[in-house]
Amino acid sequence: MKRNLPLIFAFISGILVVISEFIPHRPFSQMVSTLQDWFMIIAGFAIILGQISLFQANLAKIKEKKSGWYFYLAGLLSFMLMLVIGLLWGTQEYRGLIGHGEAIQGWLGSKPFDYMFDNAYMPLSATMFSLLAFFIASAAYRAFIIRSFESNLLMITAVIVILGRTSFGGMLTAWLPESFKFWHLPNLSDFIMEYPNSAAQRAIMISAALGIIGSSLRIILGIERSYLGSDK
C-alpha cells in the first residue's frame, strides 16, 4: 500500500492535468491552478525540513572542526541574523514583531532586513554572477582550440558571430559592395543565429519535448518508479 498509494495519486493527477490542458470547462480549467496551490502548501511545510537540514549539516561540521568550519559558522550566523532582524522589524512593506523600527530606519535609511539585503546579499549574489564572465573566457578558450574539423568550424562560426555583434565587425566589412550584402559580418552573424542556430536549438527542444512525453507517460502508467525510491 505504501508503494501503491503514490502510484495511484500520480496516475490520477497526471491524467487530470493532461485532460485539463484540452478542456476549458470547469472544473478542469481550474484543476492545474488548484494542484499548483496544493504543491505550494506542501512546499511551505517542507521549508522547515530544509532549515532543520541546514542547521544539522552545518552544526555537525562546526562541532567536528572540519576544514573551513568557520565558513559554516558564518553561514549559520548570517542566516540567524537575517531571520532575527526580519522577524523583529519586518521587511519593506510588512510590519515586524516590534513594529517598523522607525528609529533604526532613520539611521540606516531603510529597514535592517532591506539594508542587509541591498548591501550584503545583492553584492554577493552579483559577485557570483559576474564570475560567469571569467568562466566564459576560460571555457571559450578550451572550446576554440583547433584540434579537429568540428572545433575549426566552431571557432570560425564563433569569430563571425562575435565580430558581427560588435561595431568593429560592421566596420571591417563596410567596404563590401551592396551586391555582397549577405557577406557583411553583422548580416552573416544574424543569418547564423537565425537559421542554423535556431534549427539546432529547435531540434533539441523537439526531442526534449518527446522525452518529456515519454517520461511523463512512464510515470503516469507506473512503469517508472525509481523517483519514489524503488522500482519494485
Binding site: A57, G211, S226
Partner: protein, 364 residues
Amino acid sequence: MKKLLLVVGLFLCVYVQLSASSLFWVEDVPWDEGKALSLEWNVPAETVYLQKADSLGAWDLIYAGAEKKYKDSEVNPQQLYTYRLIVPRPEIGDSISFIATAKPIEQWFYLHKLSFLLILLAVSFAIIYYVNGARNGKDYFIRRITALDSVDEAIGRATEKGKPILFVPGIGDLDDIQTIASLTIMSHLAQKAAEYDTELIVPCRFSMVLSASREVVKEAYLKAGKPDAYKEERIFYLTDDQFGYVAGIDGIMLREQPAANFFLGSFYAESLILAETGFSTGAIQTSGTAQASQLPFFIVSCDHTLIGEELFAASAYLSRDPQQLGSLKGHDFGKVLVILFIIMGVVTEMAGWHWFKAFFEGAQ
C-alpha cells in the same frame, strides 16, 4: 387596415432589429473557457465609443478609437453582458447608440489544440505499443549513450581514489520534470555508489527535492543491501537562492574535491560556474539538461553530456528494464512523426497550401 398596419409595424421592428444587429454585434469567442467576448461593428465613423454595463447597470467606457472590433477578456462564464456602442455624428451635433448583449459560454474542448492532442495521442499510443511489445518479449535495439555508459567509469574512479561523488539535481523544484528525471538517474547512481562503498554528496536547492532525494538514496542503499552505509547528512539543503546555491556547491567541490561530478536536471545561468569549477578540480564530469541554451556550456566543460531527450531516456537506459526500453522506441516513433510533419510542412508551404501550417500553428 388595422391588420395591415400591424403587419407593417412588425416588419419594421424586425427590419430595424436585423439592420441594427448587422451594425453592432457581440459573440462568444468559440472553443474557450468562457472568458472572452468578441465585439464587432460596421458603422462609418472615425471614432467610436464602446461602453460596458456594470453589475448596477452603469456604463463604463472600455474602448475609444477607430477599430472595427474589440475583444473583451474581462468577463466571467455564464453571465450576461450588455454593451453600448456610441457613434458620434458631429454633422448633426448628436450621436447614435447601439446596444447588444451576449453570454460567454464555457466550451468542452480547445479546438486550437486539436493538432497538439493528435500528436500527443499518436506518440502515447506508440509508446504503449512498444512497451507492450517489450512485455511480450520483443527485443528492441537502443543506441548507445556514451554519457550513461560512463557512469560506472566515474563511480569506479571515485572508488579508486577514495573520494566522494557529487550529484547536483539541478535548480528546479520537484514540479519540474527534469528534476524527476534527475532523481531517477540518482536512484541508479546511488545503488552503484552503495555497492562500491563510495560516498555520495547531494546538495539540494529546495526542501521538496531534499526529502525526495533522501528517500530515493535511502531506498537505493537498502536495495544494494547496505542500509547502514546510508548517511542522511550527506543529502542536505543548501539554500533557495540560485547563486548562493552555486557558491555552496563550488565550496564543496573545492574543499571535498569529489572525483566525479554529476550535474543532471534543470540548469540556468549557473551551469558554467558549476562546470568550470568542477573542471578546475580535475573531477570526471557528467552533465545533462533539456535547457538548450545551457548545453554548450556543459559540452565545453564536462566530459560527458546528456543532450535534451537523453536526460529523460537515462533512467530507462540505465535500468535495462525491457518495458522502459520499449518506451524509448516510442520516442523514436515521435521523432519520425515530427520529421514527416516538417517535410510535409515544407512541401505544402511551397505549394501554397497554408492549411497544414495553420492547423499546427493553432497548437501554440
